[in-house]
Symmetry: C2
DNA sequence: TTAAAATTTGAACCTTGTTTAAAAAGTGAT
DNA sequence: ATCACTTTTTAAACAAGGTTCAAATTTTAA
């Protein structure tokens, strides 16, 4: 890889990080191309040298965050503990991540509307990859007779959906701190698969 | 109430219904004031005679849908069946509603960002009212020893969150039809509170 | 040093929400 | 039916923010 390509990649990443930062603060619509650029002392026009458009930029934010999340989950998949404990740890990790990366992690993607299928496909794949890790533990846990579930996909959707929803109501200064949330959610969600 | 006031109310409702219709098809950003107006053979400017701005209109869509949903739920609260069955029916109703009213029912409200707290308060109250109905069955079911839950709020959040998430992935032509979805979700979610 | 390539700029454009003055339509009293 | 008054609608203009593009600037490599 040439030096120039490396520089482009680095710049892209800076822009993505800037976008993530601002989006987590102001949401998708609140984060203007101008502000994202200003953060890096650029003008908004320059962003279009690196990204096709705002959608593209946001997608790549999504992808970066998802990629990191997948890596974080991976670890738990191979821990030498019961499947119940593995799933519990994955639940905790997911909750921590969903709260930390409020906007980006859980951005709402609507295939039909805003986004082109070109942009969408890799993201959906990454999402599947992420979700698949949950499927894996659940399946293995079933083989080991720790879990009993007939509709794997729905069970997983219930787990992820309920956790993602936390963003809708969680306030850092509310009744529960993150740790309590993680534990109670893990307790209750494990009841679903057991 | 004067005739003119009645006419205004009727027109407001027409606009709200038009907005709901278009939003459910194209999402929040996809529904332009122009298209909402065109549906009723008006120009977008006229909408501002009835609503302060787009936010206001959307909020009122939200409120209408929520009000109807609350009424539909209410019925199940008083059915002369076990609490488990009541909750099961409420779950089914919620899922049907969440799918039918995709965009509107579950519109994401972000207090800090786009919306003024004036507009937000009544919606949050309505939401609480809706959620409270779930709390009620769960509490009553606990008194009757049908359910065992210590963190009521979190249990309810898990129920509603997992159901609302269905919108993120549900396709009318997918593997599951609505009825199957309702039954499997009910089965699994009841495990949470039991 | 210089020509080509890469990057950035700033201005212009487009779409969409919002405002507003004026036009049109409706209403009620005479 | 007419006139004054109110309600409703329009069309045009504006503002904000995403997007494009030709030109200017900067970087790169020989």
């Amino acid at each position: 890889m040439k030096l120039s390509e490396k520089r482009v990649l680095k710049k892209k990443e800076q822009i993505i990080l800037s976008a993530i930062k601002i989006m987590n603060r102001k949401g998708y619509n609140g984060a203007t191309m101008e502000e994202i650029a200003a953060e890096l002392l650029m003008t908004k026009g320059a962003l279009y040298y690196y990204f096709k458009n705002k959608e593209d930029l946001i997608f790549q934010c999504h992808e970066l965050v998802l990629t990191n999340a997948i890596e974080e989950l991976q670890v738990h998949l191979e821990e030498p503990v019961s499947y119940e404990t593995r799933l519990r740890n994955m639940i905790k990790t997911h909750i921590a991540y969903a709260i930390k990366e409020k906007e980006t992690f859980n951005m709402i993607l609507k295939p039909d509307e805003t986004f082109s299928s070109e942009q969408l496909k890799p993201i959906l794949l990454k999402r599947q990859e992420y979700a698949h890790q949950f499927d894996t533990v659940i399946k293995e846990g079933m083989k080991a007779n720790e879990f009993t579930i007939t509709e794997l996909k729905i069970a997983r959707m219930i787990l992820l959906g309920s956790m993602n929803w936390i963003q809708q109501w969680y306030q850092p200064d509310g009744k529960f701190n993150v740790e309590e949330l993680q534990n109670v959610y893990a307790d209750y969600l494990l009841k679903v698969v057991k």
